[in-house]
């Protein structure tokens, strides 16, 4: 068996009940360091809830979350982010009243200090700008540096959110449907970006685009009704009868 340090993120018997309804039931998930791990499942399968439990935006009813074998179940979101677990949100979360560059600078600044320096000139963040431009270029937003984030199209907001999350240079990247709303033309670019980002970190992502999942993900966990249905490589998972019935089958018919 694997030694525990092989896993970057691990959940043990994680459950969440919302007044009698089990959104997540006894989920034990292991995400191997350096892998791109996908969470699949129909709507309401509990994928986003699981994300919220891991990052402690909601409190689990039962179970534990481990980061590098260390129990982080009780850590508030900001502390977990400090340790190196960064996430994006399903509904795009950018800072709409700040321009695109400021969005990224805010994330880059986090690594430097706690951002309490109210006496310092904002110009003191100048040295972070080259890195910010680099990140924006990688997500194709170079033209929009001084646009207000709120005025971007949905897909570009997603790209910006990815850039700000990458700006944190986290050890673990939790991405909640990074391809949702991204135009067909841009999907490959974003997928390559995630793949490149994963070269020195671990990625756990919720994604519905099976093409992307098949191409870049090393391991896939399929959830249904709050539980893990099956886990394995894309070939193993897509061949599993329960998965074909519960999820893939419908998709294939629809497509």
């Amino acid at each position: 068996m694997h030694t525990p340090t092989e896993f970057e993120i691990e959940t043990q018997g994680l459950s969440k009940e919302f007044s009698g309804f089990s959104a997540v039931k006894n989920v034990s998930l292991k995400v191997r360091r350096g892998s791109i791990h996908a969470l699949l499942g129909p709507n309401g399968a509990g994928k986003t809830t699981l994300f919220n439990l891991i990052t402690r935006f909601i409190e689990p009813s039962e179970g534990r979350v481990l980061f590098r074998s260390q129990d982080v179940t009780a850590l508030p979101p900001a502390r977990l982010a400090h340790l190196g677990v960064a996430r994006s949100f399903q509904i795009s979360a950018v800072f709409p009243h700040m321009d695109v560059l400021e969005n990224v600078l805010l994330a880059l600044q986090r690594k430097e200090e706690r951002g309490l320096a109210f006496w310092k000139n904002i110009q003191s963040l100048r040295h972070l700008e080259p890195r910010a431009h680099e990140l924006l270029q990688s997500v194709g937003l170079s033209q929009y540096v001084h646009t207000r984030a709120g005025e971007l199209s949905y897909g570009r907001k997603r790209a910006l959110e990815l850039a700000t999350t990458l700006a944190l240079d986290p050890a673990v990247l939790l991405l909640d449907e990074p391809m949702a709303g991204i135009s067909h033309a841009d999907i490959d670019g974003i997928a390559n970006l995630i793949k490149a980002a994963a070269s020195n970190r671990t990625v756990l992502m919720v994604e519905h685009n099976l093409g992307v999942v098949a191409r870049i993900c090393d391991r896939i966990t399929v959830m249904r009704r709050g539980e893990i249905l099956v886990e394995g490589s894309y070939q193993e998972v897509s061949a599993h009868p329960a998965v074909i019935e519960a999820y893939m089958g419908k998709r294939k018919n629809a497509a």
Binding site: A81, A86, P96, L106, N121, L125
Partner: protein, 316 residues
């Protein structure tokens, strides 16, 4: 280009204020300046952090009382009294923050209002604060022992320098790495947390700073009018500063400054008409919320931005 514009605007502002007392009654100008500072300090919490404090008069008033009390009853020098009063207000801001920042939205507003009412009640009942009369006849003294503040012109320029310095600090706070985090919080608390900012700390700092600066406004007001009364602590004043921000434009640097001056102007113009002031304020408030949601400065800068964008597009 934007920078030179801002610099010109600043120069104009300082220039006008430097010569203004030659043409305009200095006491009115000083009232306007303290109100502008009060509104700008309040804007740090309201405009830049998105938290509607409804108890800011507590910081203004406590500092006013403290300044009056220390000068009159304890013979403090003017500058030491002001400094102490500002520190007390800052500490009070931290205390309010500790209790109110556990909540957001309307609950935050209600807790700050309740705390401010407690302070009001104490000032009403505590013998040292003079009850209904407040503290009257506070000597202005001399700054550092040599600038005689009883001379209205001297007082005006001393006050102008202090207000400008405080506004400069506010400008810096807004345009600092710290200000960037606040604006992030204002837009999306969740996202700011997920970036790893422990925003509660930032909010505590901004409450303290805002309270201390509001305190400076309250202390300066005592030097001008030589009294501190219950109205400095009343919820009316807490409401008035919200109005000042809304008129001028929340979340802009110049908005609350102009809004504060406008409120002071309104008061002095309508001083004789008594209770009509309240009615007119009410109408202005409704008009602002209905038609001018981003305030005077907010609307203006939006127009300018749109025009610039259009002209850029036409060039392209």
């Amino acid at each position: 280009m934007k920078n030179t514009q801002n610099r010109l605007l600043l120069l104009l502002f300082v220039g006008v204020l430097a010569v203004a007392p030659l043409a305009i009654y200095p006491v009115f100008l000083m009232e306007a300046l303290t109100m502008a500072l009060f509104a700008a300090s309040f804007n740090l919490v309201f405009g830049y952090s998105g938290l509607l404090s409804f108890g800011h008069a507590a910081f203004y008033g406590v500092s006013a009382y403290a300044t009056a009390f220390l000068i009159k009853d304890h013979g403090f020098s003017t500058e030491l009294a002001l400094l102490t009063a500002v520190a007390i207000s800052g500490a009070l801001g931290a205390l309010f923050g500790l209790l109110a920042l556990k909540r957001r939205g309307i609950y935050f507003s209600m807790v700050t209002l309740a705390l401010a009412e407690v302070i009001y009640f104490i000032a009403l009942r505590w013998p040292a604060t003079g009850g209904e009369d407040g503290l009257q006849g506070v000597p202005r003294g001399a700054l550092f022992g040599w600038l005689e503040l009883n001379d209205t012109m001297t007082l005006y320029y001393v006050l102008l320098v202090m207000v400008l310095a405080a506004l400069a600090l506010i400008h810096r706070i807004i345009h600092s790495p710290f200000g960037l985090v606040l604006r992030g919080f204002c837009d999306s608390e969740q996202r700011t947390l997920s970036l790893g900012y422990e925003v509660q700390q930032h909010l505590m700092v901004v409450m303290t700073l805002s309270a201390a600066l509001a305190g400076l406004a309250g202390g300066l007001k005592v030097l001008v009018f030589q009294f501190a009364t219950l109205s400095d602590l009343s919820w009316h004043l807490s409401g008035l500063v919200v109005l000042a921000c809304l008129i001028g434009g929340t979340g802009t640097f110049w908005g609350p400054i102009l809004g504060g001056i406008a409120i002071a102007l309104l008061h002095s113009l309508l001083a004789e008409s008594g209770s009509w002031v309240t009615l007119i304020q009410g109408v202005i408030f409704i008009a602002c919320v209905q038609f001018f949601r981003e305030g005077f400065v907010g609307t203006l800068s939006k127009r300018l931005r749109n025009r610039r964008a259009t002209s850029l597009r036409e060039q392209a």
